[in-house]
Every structure is written in C-alpha cells, then in structure tokens.
Amino acid sequence: MTWLFKHRFLILRRLSQIGMIFLYFAANVWGWKILQGNLGSSLLFETLPLSDPFAVVQMSAAGALLGLDLLIGAGIITLFYALIGGRAFCSWVCPVNMITDAANGLRRLLRINEVEYRYVLSRHLRYWILALSIVLSAIFGVAAFEFVSPIGILNRGLIFGIGFGGAVIAGVFLFDLFGAKNGFCGHLCPLGGFYSLIGRFSLIRVKHNQEKCTVCMKCTEICPEKPVLHMIGKRSEFVTMGECSNCARCIEVCESDALHFDIRFLNQKKSASL
C-alpha cells in the first residue's frame, strides 16, 4: 500500500499515457469514436478537435493556409497547457517519456550515471532546435520537425504499426541510456521546449516548503530537469521554470512532505506572508 502511495503519480501518469494510446489504437482498429486520430491532431467524441500547436506553428511557417478545425484544435491545446501545468504533455501524455524513463531507470540500475562522460550538452539546445525547426519549415515549405520527430514516429507506430520506426525509438533509448542522462527529453526535444514556453505561467505547479525540507536531496536526484529545483532547502516557493514537466516524482520521493502540487497566483500571497 505504501508502495502504491509512493508511486501514485507515476501510476496515474502511466495510465494516462497508455490509456490515450489505447484509445487512439481502439479508434483505428475497432472504430471506437472516443479519441480518433493521433497526437498530431485528434477528434474527441467526434466533435472536439485537438491538435499539436507546435506542428501548426511549423506548418504556418511553411506557408500552409490551414483548416479551421486544426486552428481551433491547436488553440484548445495551447490554452489547456498554458493553464494546467507547463510541460505536463511531456510526462503525462507523450509516449516517448516511457522510453526515456525506462532508459533512465536502467541507467540507475547499471550505475551508468557514476561513470558518465562529462558532456557539455546544454539544456538550451532544445530552443535552438525549436528555432531551427521553424526556420527550416519556412525554407522547405514542410513541417521540418515532423519529418524526424521520434514522438510522431512512436505515437503513429503504436497506433498504425511501428515498422522501421522501432529503430528510431531504439536510437532514442540508447542515446538516453549510454549517451546523456535525459538526453532527448531534457536537452533535444523542441516540442518539450515549445511547451516550456507555453506553460511558463501555468497555474498548477509544484511548491516547495522549506520548513519541512530536510535537505536529503532525493528530489533533485530523481528530477529529470534538475535546474528547476534550484530552491530546494533554500526558499519556500513554487517551481516556476517552464522546463518543469509536472511529473511529480519529486513529490513522491520526498519523505518529509516538503513538496506538493498547488495553484500558483491563487496561493502566492499566502506564501509571501510566510
């Protein structure tokens, strides 16, 4: 029971990730009308369009005059993540997250972290790639990142059949396992960068309570985006950096209950008076 409680968010996240892929898969194979399409663009209950705003940005840069459904769908998703929490897409929806988490787990098991090469792989690299995707989209007239996106490959692969895409996914897995810790999600993926920007001012955030903190640093150890937890043991405040994916692993591993989800702005005054 305590194990379940200790992993409650992880379990919920996996349910959310797998459940979504399952619904997409069911729509393709058995014709369920709950969630059709894929993460590029989908139709919820045959009425509500949802689409990937980053793909839409790239397509617009490519000079495409897009359909209304797509624009509405992208608007809904943008609004959702702008309100709900930062990169929640990455940890609660994106299927690649399961691959990279598996690589990360294996890293810990094999103690690869302890012999790591000191790569200087900047966490800003994703913003460079983000900019590059938009520039290349404009030059070539096609959505550039969609041509190489492992997210699209895996997500379509799981719904429509994976084919040679398995090799791409294996590449991501091996890169994260032997190449760099959190290499793909934490450094390269421009979609993650995009959602970091969108969710910069989102409401649902992890909050650190310094009075309860014992500075055991288990949270920074588990966090895939370490820099966002710069306040641990120093100040009571919200994790405000857009790079936080709201995966809640820090909340789960914290034994002194110093971290919890909270609503930003609403409770900010309270925390300021503390």
């Binding site: 729509a27 393709n28 014709g31 059709q36 399409g37 894929n38 590029g40 663009s41 989908s42 139709l43 369009p49 689409s51 990937d52 793909a55 839409v56 397509m59 490519a62 000079g63 495409a64 005059l65 897009l66 359909g67 459904d69 797509l70 769908g73 460079w128 790639i129 590059l132 520039v135 290349l136 030059i139 070539f140 007239g141 096609v142 959505a143 550039a144 969609e146 041509f147 190489v148 699209g152 490959i153 379509r156 692969g157 719904i159 429509f160 059949g161 994976i162 084919g163 040679f164 895409g165 090799a167 791409v168």
Partner: protein, 270 residues
C-alpha cells in the same frame, strides 16, 4: 612548454568563441537536417487520398494525424512509416494492394482537419445550390497501360481492367481493331480516358499479368503539358484564348521567309 604561457581566455574572447561554436554546430545540424528533408520530400511516385492538394502543398498541410486512414472503410489508406521512402506519417495507398473503392460519401475527405484534403475538389454544386460530394471528380492519379505487356494488345482476350473500372466504358474504353496476324480475330485493347480516370486503381488491382500492365501514376508524373502556345483551332472555347493574348503574333524572319509562297511553288522541285 609554450602552452603553459597562454593567458586564460578573457570573457569577451570566450563569449565570441562560444557564439561561433554555436553557429557552427547549428549550421552543421541544419545542413544535415535539410538534406534529409529535401531527400524525403522529393518522393513523387506516391498516390494520395482523393481530393489531396498538389503534392508540395499536401506535404505542408498534412499534419499526419491518420484520421483519413481511420475513416477509410476498405483499409486502403496507410500512414507512411519510417523506411517506406514516403514522407513519414503521410497517408498514401498502393493500388495493387488495396485500391480506392470510390465510396459515394468519400468518408476520408471531410474528416481532414488541416485542409490537406480539400472537399471542394470533389464537390459539385447542385441546382438548389447545395454542395454535393462527387467522387468521380477525384484526381488521385491516372491509369497508364504498358501496351507491350498488356495481353489484350497481344490479341489474347482480356478485359479485366475494363470490367473492374468503377467508371466502366467512361474511364477505360475498349478499342477493337482487326488482328491481321490471324485474319479472323480482333484486338480488343483497353484505352484510358485521361480526363475521366480518377486514379482509383481498381484496374491495377484487377490486372491479370504478373506485374500489373495497367497501373496508376500520380498526375504530376503521368501527365505531359502542351504549353499555352498551342491552340485547338477546332475548339471555339480554346480559340477564345487568342483574344486575351497580349503580345505575340510576331513573324519569325529567316532567309527562306523572304521568298513569297508563290515563288516556292514555281521554282522549287516537287
């Protein structure tokens, strides 16, 4: 060692070097990436769903969501997977495997959220002013016959493609001619009417030869272009083009053209 004497990098130099490094790496990445995109988006021998935009526009509009694939009741449409040599994630079909069945309600087109499949390409306006879907307007490609391998051209009786065509006797017709080799048989050769053929591929699927002797090619590949300078004089509508024409009408002068036609008739040998 001389190296020991090098002073530490000052801040400005470090900044400049880092900037250059960033630019260099970004250029390298952009070149590799663009080479891949260029290669991947150049595949033109691919059949798209009905009402698809021109290949170039289609690629920029398609968000690769697969809604058309799911809507297709015959499993005709597939999403390109890595390694298929088709721009990844885009819908396509292979006529020899599963052709387009030309559904009357065209379920694959209205579901497209991005406009990559444009309903107006396959709609007509009825007398009441309503829009009505009409799959016969589709232009997915055009069937092309290899007359060398088509056994009907050999004189062997076969009309599999003709019978399979959803627009029988409209998109494919049979040209009968005398078979001089036997003296008592007819060649019954199929012929594709380009303006009518939708490129559904039912003929390619039905073809009895080992590798189909009638196959669908994308319009951009299969069609020629006469150019606007040729006018069908026997077609009043086509001749109207002459009226709007600006410029032109210049006479090309060569040494020959200085002679009058009458001189030519009188002096040249026949």
């Amino acid at each position: 060692m001389a190296k020991d004497k090098l002073p530490p990098l000052n801040e400005r130099r470090r900044f400049l070097l880092q900037t250059l490094q960033g630019i260099g790496l970004a250029t390298l990445g952009a070149l590799t990436w663009s080479a891949y995109i260029d290669e991947a988006s150049a595949a033109s021998l691919v059949l798209r769903p009905p009402a698809a935009l021109k290949e170039e526009d289609f690629l920029s509009h398609c968000i690769r969501c697969g809604l058309c694939v799911e809507a297709c009741p015959f499993d005709t449409l597939k999403l390109a997977r890595a390694g298929d040599n088709i721009p990844i994630g885009t819908p396509y079909f292979r006529a020899r495997e599963i052709p387009c069945h030309m559904c009357k309600d065209i379920p694959c087109v209205p579901v497209c959220p991005s406009g990559a499949l444009d309903e107006s390409f396959v709609s007509t306006i009825t007398k009441n002013g309503d829009k009505e879907l009409d799959i016969t307007l589709a232009a997915m490609g055009i069937a092309v016959i290899d007359a060398d391998q088509c056994i009907a051209f050999w004189g062997i009786q076969c009309d599999a493609c003709y019978r399979a065509c959803p627009l029988i006797n409209e998109a494919i017709v049979i040209d009968a001619s005398r078979n001089d080799r036997t003296g008592k048989h007819a060649f019954m050769a199929p012929r594709v009417i380009g303006d009518v053929c939708t490129g559904c591929g039912m003929c390619e699927k039905a073809c009895v030869t080992d590798k189909a002797s009638i196959f669908v090619l994308p319009l951009a590949v299969a069609k020629g272009r006469a150019g606007s300078n040729y006018i069908k004089g026997w077609d009043a509508q086509d001749e109207n083009r002459l009226k709007d024409q600006k410029g032109g009408g210049e006479t090309t002068l060569t040494p020959k053209s200085s002679q009058k036609p009458i001189d030519y008739l009188n002096s040249e040998e026949f």
